[in-house]
């Protein structure tokens, strides 16, 4: 992941211990490590075209944006402990620029890379260094009580920033296209505001939270920046333009209007919002012939962005096998016309007992196949996967054992759970894999219209890998396609029941997807062969139990 590589480069280059705060840097101004950092920074800044830096600073572009736009390779400006003020003063010094004094929000990134924003209490916040910002985030994670073993950082910024950047870049291109520094630095895409922010705060966050940042992390920290003007303008922008949305800084609105009326719409515009802006602005710049310095028609920004922090966890998965001891419990919640079918559901019993232990928002239940409400699930149990959404906490091994005992110890003894454990999202693929190929084992209580003979027991046990043809059973024909499905009965064994000549237990192992009930009673002859047709009499099924669902990975 490029994030990690670049962070490593930064840390390699500086050798500054990340635990030292920015305050320490200021107070130990003479120490060797900081000197190195500052020297590298100065070198990087020196290598930039000074007049361009001056121009950019003069139109209100912040230090970090200047460095990233001008393609500064080393990313030294992302160093977490580097205070704003020092970065700024180095730039000003090198470029020979004197700032007006008051702090000004960046006209491109709207203050984001100046670590300035408006928090949810509507207070303006201005962090000195990325490390300070990381501290705030880390505090939040701790306060919310999240237990994490990794995190993934997400940043979302207003579209307006991309538009500002785009218009700035195209303006610069128009003027400086032929210059050497432009060709060396500006031809490849510049690092985005999002990436710079991420580079800057990821390492310190890792240290403060004592975990690694990982793209596969299920714990997400999301920073959402919004800007009032960005959303206000969308209304103004849409007026007067039927198909094209145009965005603009306030001051230039009128000019853009004129531009639309007078200039021709170029046919090679992409439909991308930002590119259409670029197209417009380059037209304007062309029109203004007496253009010497880089004048970027971006208005000064008076309000910072609004920042919302959000910590959430993506789904965690628990898998295991369930048993169903009741003939009146459905697998999933089953409600018809506001009335529940059956007494309870496996899904709800398991889900409701696990959810509170994970402190999640809600759950989704998935199982490898299903059985009818009146069919018990015994033996090894049926594999299932429980998806817990937005959980605050991954349950420990002890917790898991507790959950298992709790469910298995429920008074009504409707459902049981085995082999419960936490899995990664791979659990999903594991379950789906080969689901259709899995064999299932059943035990059916069968009645036939004549007494059972020894020959019957013998002939049934000799049938191995027998093929049957099943038309879609009448009981599901209303919602399934009318098809003829070929299925395999792998083996069968009759177990006599003492005291009953016409009832017996039929143990059988079949291909997944076989309708057992129909195989016994024949479904009015639509399943061929059936137990009845094999034994030459009428056969009825009284009870069915699933005794094994063969799946190794669970």
């Amino acid at each position: 992941m490029s994030n990690e590589v670049e962070s490593a480069q930064v840390s390699d280059a500086t050798e500054v211990t990340l635990l030292s705060s920015s305050a320490e840097i200021e107070s130990h101004a003479g120490s060797c490590d900081e000197e190195m950092t500052l020297q590298l920074l100065k070198d990087a800044v020196q290598s930039l075209p000074h007049h361009v830096v001056k121009d950019l600073l003069s139109v209100g572009v912040c230090s970090r944006c200047v460095l990233r736009i001008l393609g500064s390779e080393d990313r030294i400006y992302c160093h977490p402990l580097l205070p704003q003020s020092i970065l700024r003063s180095i730039l000003e010094e090198v470029a020979g620029f004197k700032s007006e004094g008051n702090f000004q929000l960046c006209s491109v990134c709207l203050g984001i890379l100046q670590l300035s924003y408006c928090d949810d209490k509507e207070t303006m916040v201005k962090m000195e260094s990325p490390n300070d910002m990381a501290s705030t985030i880390a505090e939040l994670v701790k306060t919310e009580g999240h237990q994490i073993d990794g995190f993934s950082l997400e940043v979302s910024v207003p579209q307006l920033i991309l538009e500002n950047e785009s218009s700035l870049l195209s303006g610069m291109k128009k003027i400086n296209e032929s210059e050497l520094w432009f060709q060396e630095r500006m031809l490849s895409k510049c690092v985005s505001v999002k990436d710079v922010l991420k580079f800057a705060i990821t390492k310190p966050l890792e240290t403060l939270l004592d975990v690694k940042s990982t793209s596969a992390g299920c714990f997400r920290i999301r920073l959402t920046y919004t800007h009032k003007r960005a959303s206000d303008n969308s209304v103004e922008r849409n007026q007067g333009f039927k198909r094209r949305r145009i965005s603009t800084g306030n001051g230039l609105h009128n000019v853009y209007d004129k531009a639309v009326i007078t200039s021709k719409v170029c046919s090679d515009y992409s439909t991308n919002e930002t590119i259409s802006v670029t197209g417009r602005s380059s037209n304007i710049l062309q029109d203004q012939e007496t253009f010497e310095h880089l004048r970027i028609p971006i208005d000064k920004v008076s309000e910072p962005c609004h920042l919302v922090y959000l910590c959430y966890r993506t789904h965690i998965y628990l898998c295991g096998r369930y048993l169903k001891y009741s003939r009146n419990v459905s697998q999933t919640r089953w409600i018809i016309d506001e009335e529940r079918m059956g007494e309870a559901s496996v899904e709800e019993i398991i889900g409701s007992n696990i959810l509170p232990m994970c402190r999640g928002d809600n759950y989704k239940f998935h199982a490898a196949g299903r059985e009818d409400i009146d069919v018990r699930m015994l033996g090894s149990g049926r594999p299932f996967l429980l998806e817990i959404q937005n959980s605050c906490q991954i349950p420990s091994e002890e917790t898991i054992k507790e959950i298992e005992s709790k469910i298995n110890g429920l008074e009504n003894k409707l459902v049981g759970v085995k082999k419960l454990k936490v899995v990664s999202s791979q659990g999903w693929t594991l379950m789906r894999e080969g689901e259709a190929e899995k064999q299932k084992q059943y035990c059916a209580l069968v009645w036939i219209s004549r007494p059972l003979e020894d020959e019957d027991v013998q002939s049934i046990s000799l049938l191995n890998d027998m093929q049957i043809l099943q038309k879609t059973p009448i009981r599901v024909l209303h919602r399934r396609s009318p098809l003829e499905r070929q299925k395999i009965i792998h083996w069968m064994k009759i177990e006599r029941i003492s005291g009953s000549p016409q009832y017996f237990l039929l143990h059988l192992c079949t291909q997944a997807g076989t309708y057992i009930k129909e195989f016994v009673h024949g479904d009015l002859g639509r399943t061929q062969p059936s137990i009845g047709s094999i034994l030459g009499c009428r056969a009825e099924i009284m009870q069915l139990d699933v005794t094994d669902v063969k799946m190794d990975s669970f």
Partner: protein, 227 residues
């Protein structure tokens, strides 16, 4: 039986061999307990599977009886044309010849079934998909098939208004199914009816008892026998 002569050898076993011995024993013990556990679990499972014989009815109700509601249409469209309609809670209706149908009173048995009646051959249609595309819409008097005995032939009609999902093509090659089990494997067709249409026809149908009563009582059943 341990030899006196071997005893010293045993005690002189080198350490690592002793360890292997122990490991083997442990493994055997583990395997044994796994087997025992499995056996125990099997036994427990088996206990759950075996039913209480005393609770089992001598003759249980059939699949049709348990899963469908049975209705009968006496003299449908023609005297003696007694048909049944088994309705499943899911809205599907299985139609066929009732045991009191005139065809079974003929001297000769049912010998042929022909689905080529009306405008098209009913056995040729193909209904596909969950939405049951291409299913023909039938009125209650639409002809399904013709049943022939050596003496006579009878037109069997839908009885229920709805979409024809399936006809029992087995009857073409095995018309004898009607003689042996008209009430099960000898069914004629499966029709999907809407609740509203079903309610309309339901009122004109009888239960099995009512049909039996009717047939026993007024035995002025016009029969097509030549006798």
């Amino acid at each position: 039986m341990v030899d006196q002569a071997h005893k010293p050898e045993e005690t002189a076993l080198p350490n690592n061999l002793q360890q292997h011995h122990k490991q083997d024993e442990e493994r055997q013990q583990q395997q044994q307990s796994v087997l025992e556990n499995a056996e125990y679990e099997d036994e427990e499972l088996h206990k759950l599977l075996v039913p209480d014989v005393t609770q089992l009815p001598l003759t249980p109700s059939s699949a049709v009886e348990s899963n469908f509601a049975s209705y009968f249409a006496p003299d449908f469209m023609k005297p003696g044309n007694d048909q049944y309609v088994y309705r499943h809670p899911n809205g599907l209706c299985v139609v066929g010849l009732a045991s009191t149908h005139s065809a079974f009173k003929d001297k000769g048995e049912v010998s042929a079934v022909d689905f080529n009646v009306g405008k098209s051959d009913r056995s040729g249609m193909k209904v596909t998909g969950k939405r049951k595309k291409n299913a023909q819409h039938f009125e209650s008097n639409t002809a399904l098939c013709k049943v022939c005995t050596s003496d006579d032939s009878y037109i069997i009609r839908s009885c229920v208004k709805g979409s024809l999902l399936e006809v029992n093509e087995r009857l073409i090659k095995q018309p004898d199914l009607l003689n042996s089990s008209a009430d099960r494997e000898g069914y004629i067709a499966i029709i999907m009816s809407k609740p509203a249409d079903w309610l309309k026809v339901k009122s004109s149908l009888l239960s099995l008892e009512e049909l039996k009563k009717l047939r026993e009582a007024g035995s002025i059943l016009p029969s097509h026998n030549s006798s």
